[in-house]
C-alpha cells in the first residue's frame, strides 16, 4: 500500500512539473493572447486593458500559474483564440477520436503480437519464426508515416479499396489502425518471443512437464503468464510511443483526433488549445507509466519483494 501511495504521489509530482512546463511554453510563446485576439492598432487602449485584466495577464506570474492550475482542475481550460470555443469541448471531441484509434491499434498490436511471439518461440528457428522476425524487423525500421504513405498509395490511390483519409465509415479506421499497430506489434512480438524462450528453459517449466501437465497448458498458461510481465512493462512504454506517432498518423489520415488538433493549433498559434492538449497527453503518459508499474507489481510478486513493502 505504501508503495502504491508513493508511486501515485510521484506521478502527481511529475504531472505538476509537466504543468509548469506547458504553462511556461504558453508564456514564452511569441505574442500573447491579446495580440492574437484583438488588433492593437485599431482597438482602444481601454478595451485592451480590460481584456488584460479579465485574462489576468497583469497579475504576478505565480498568481497566473495558480489561476491556470485552478482552471485546469475545474475543467476550465480557457478559450480557443481561433474559433472562441471552450478548449474543453475541442479536447473532448478530439479525445474520443484518438481513443478509438489508439485502442484499436493496441488491440491489434497485442492481439497479434503476443500469440505470434509465443508461436515463434515455441517453433524457434522454424520458417514461421524466421518470417515473423523478418516482418518484425521490417516494421521496426520503416518509419510509420512512410508506411502510411506507401499503403495509401497502394490501397487507396492505386487499388481504390480503401478511402484516402477522413472519417465516416469503418473502412477509414483500417489503414490508420494497421499503421499505428505495426511497430508496437513487432516490438511486442519480439519481447514475447525472447521472454517465452527464457521461461521455457526455466526449472518450473521442466517440473510442470515432469508432473504430466499437458504441453499446451504449460505453454499457454504457465509460460505465458510468467512472460507477461515484460510485455506489460513494455505496454506502458509503448503508450508513450504510440501517442507520439498517433499525432502524425492522425494528420496523414485527417483523423479528427487530438493529434490533428494539436498540430493545427500550433500552426495557427492557438496557444491555449495547444498547451491544454500537450498537458493532457503528458498526463496520459504519466498515468500509463504509473499504472504499468502497479500492474507489474500485482502480476509479479517478486517485484513486490524487491521494492519493499507488503501488498
Amino acid at each position: 500500500m505504501w508503495y502504491v501511495l508513493q508511486r501515485v504521489g510521484y506521478a502527481l509530482l511529475v504531472i505538476f512539473l509537466a504543468s509548469l512546463v506547458t504553462f511556461a511554453a504558453l508564456r514564452v510563446a511569441p505574442g500573447d493572447a491579446i495580440t492574437s485576439m484583438l488588433n492593437p492598432s485599431t482597438t482602444p487602449a481601454e478595451v485592451i486593458a480590460e481584456y488584460r485584466d479579465r485574462l489576468g495577464l497583469d497579475l504576478p506570474i505565480w498568481e497566473q500559474y495558480l489561476r491556470y492550475v485552478g482552471g485546469l482542475l475545474t475543467g476550465d481550460f480557457g478559450i480557443s483564440l481561433i474559433d472562441r470555443q471552450p478548449v474543453i469541448e475541442i479536447v473532448l471531441n478530439g479525445a474520443l477520436a484518438t481513443v478509438i484509434l489508439a485502442v484499436a491499434a493496441f488491440i491489434v498490436a497485442f492481439g497479434i503480437g503476443v500469440p505470434a511471439g509465443v508461436l515463434a518461440a515455441l517453433h524457434k528457428d522454424s520458417p514461421f519464426d524466421r518470417i515473423v522476425r523478418a516482418i518484425g524487423s521490417f516494421f521496426n525500421s520503416v518509419p510509420n508515416f512512410v508506411l502510411a504513405l506507401i499503403l495509401v498509395l497502394v490501397f487507396a490511390v492505386q487499388l481504390r479499396w480503401l478511402p484516402v483519409s477522413g472519417t465516416g465509415s469503418w473502412k477509414n479506421l483500417i489503414l490508420p489502425t494497421l499503421i499505428l499497430a505495426a511497430d508496437p506489434c513487432a516490438l511486442t512480438m519480439r519481447v514475447t518471443r525472447t521472454s517465452v524462450l527464457e521461461q521455457s528453459g526455466a526449472d518450473f517449466t521442466r517440473t510442470l512437464r515432469a508432473r504430466g501437465i499437458p504441453t499446451r497448458r504449460v505453454n499457454w498458461v504457465h509460460i505465458l503468464r510468467n512472460s507477461l510481465n515484460s510485455v506489460v512493462s513494455l505496454g506502458a512504454v509503448q503508450i508513450r510511443t504510440l501517442l507520439g506517432y498517433t499525432l502524425i498518423v492522425e494528420v496523414i489520415f485527417r483523423w479528427p483526433g487530438l493529434g490533428s488538433q494539436l498540430v493545427q493549433s500550433i500552426l495557427n498559434r492557438d496557444y491555449p488549445v495547444a498547451s491544454a492538449l500537450a498537458l493532457l497527453l503528458a498526463v496520459v503518459v504519466v498515468i500509463a507509466s504509473a499504472l504499468g508499474d502497479l500492474v507489474l507489481r500485482w502480476v509479479d510478486p517478486r517485484i513486490r519483494v524487491s521494492t519493499g513493502g507488503g501488498r
Binding site: 518509419p143 504513405l149 502524425i248
Partner: protein, 287 residues
C-alpha cells in the same frame, strides 16, 4: 552447447569490422553534404531550380535520372540534398544528446543521492512528453524550423541515455580502480573523466548511432507535418509531404524519399547492433 569461435570474415579496426566503419564514414559524408546544403545558399539553385515545362517527369527521363517533382525540380538533386540535411540534423542531435546524457548520467550516478533523485525527476518530466509532442510544442514556441527540431530532439533524446549511463556508473563506481583513485585523493570530476568516461565510450557509440536513427525519423516526421525544415530547404519530410499531395500523378517522390529514409534507419540500426556486439563483450554472445 559451446559455440566455436567464429573467424571474422572482414578485417577489423579497433575490434570493429571495417564494414561498420565504412558505413559510418558514408553517413559522415552525407552529414557534410547536409552542412553544405544548409550553409552555402549560392549552390541552392541546383535543387531549387524550377521548370514548369517539365513537371512530373518519371525517373529515367532524359536529363533527369530520378525524374522531376510537381515544380519540375530535378528530383535526384533534391533527394540528395534532403538526405544530407536529414543526416546532418541526425548527427547534430546525436552528439548533443549523447554529451548531455553523459554529463547528467554521471552526475546522477556518481555525485550523491540528492543529485540522483533530482535528475530522476527531471528525466521523468522529460519522459512525460513523447519526443514528437515536445518537438511540436517547441516548434510552436520557437516557430517552425530546423533549429526548433534540433533543440527539441536533443532535449528529449538525452533522458533515455542519461538513465543508461547512470546504471553503468552505478556498477563502475564499485570497481577497485575507481575506489583506489578516490583514495589517492583525486576529485570526483577527475575520476569521472579518467575512469568513468573511457568505460562509457562503447555504450556511448552504440547509443549515438541509435539516436541518429531516431532523430532522422523524428526530423522527417516533423518536417512532414510542416513544423521542421521550411520550403524551399530540401528535407525528406518535406519531400514526403509534398509527394503526398500529388500521389495521383507521381509515385516516385514518396516511394524514393520513403525508401531512402527506411534504408538509412535500417543501416543505422544494423551499425548500432554491430557496434554493440563488437564493443561490448558481455553482450557479444547472442542467443
Amino acid at each position: 552447447m559451446a559455440r566455436a569461435a567464429r573467424r571474422p570474415f572482414v578485417p577489423r579496426y579497433l575490434g570493429v569490422s571495417v564494414l561498420l566503419w565504412g558505413l559510418l564514414a558514408i553517413f559522415g559524408l552525407l552529414a557534410v553534404v547536409g552542412w553544405i546544403v544548409l550553409m552555402v545558399p549560392s549552390l541552392s539553385t541546383v535543387w531549387t531550380d524550377q521548370s514548369l515545362r517539365s513537371t512530373f517527369l518519371p525517373p529515367f527521363s532524359e536529363g533527369y535520372l530520378l525524374g522531376t517533382d510537381n515544380l519540375g525540380r530535378n528530383f535526384a538533386w533534391r533527394l540528395t540534398a534532403g538526405i544530407g540535411v536529414s543526416v546532418f540534423v541526425g548527427v547534430l542531435v546525436a552528439v548533443i544528446s549523447v554529451v548531455l546524457g553523459l554529463v547528467i548520467g554521471i552526475f546522477a550516478g556518481y555525485f550523491g543521492r540528492a543529485a540522483d533523485a533530482g535528475t530522476n525527476v527531471v528525466i521523468d518530466v522529460t519522459w512525460a512528453f513523447p519526443e514528437i509532442l515536445l518537438a511540436i510544442v517547441l516548434a510552436g514556441v520557437l516557430g517552425p524550423g530546423l533549429e526548433a527540431v534540433i533543440l527539441a530532439l536533443s532535449l528529449t533524446g538525452w533522458a533515455a541515455f542519461a538513465r543508461i549511463v547512470r546504471g553503468e556508473v552505478l556498477s563502475l563506481r564499485e570497481r577497485d580502480y575507481v575506489a583506489a583513485s578516490r583514495v589517492l585523493g583525486y576529485s570526483k570530476v577527475t575520476v569521472s573523466v579518467r575512469h568513468l568516461l573511457p568505460n562509457l565510450l562503447p555504450i556511448t557509440m552504440v547509443m549515438a548511432v541509435y539516436f541518429m536513427a531516431v532523430a532522422i525519423v523524428a526530423e522527417a516526421g516533423l518536417s512532414f507535418l510542416g513544423l521542421g525544415a521550411q520550403p524551399p530547404t530540401p528535407s525528406l519530410g518535406g519531400i514526403l509531404a509534398q509527394g503526398r499531395d500529388y500521389l495521383n500523378s507521381s509515385w516516385w517522390p514518396v516511394v524514393l524519399a520513403g525508401g531512402a529514409l527506411s534504408i538509412m534507419v535500417l543501416v543505422l540500426n544494423y551499425v548500432s547492433d554491430g557496434l554493440r556486439d563488437h564493443l561490448d563483450p558481455r553482450r557479444g554472445v547472442r542467443r
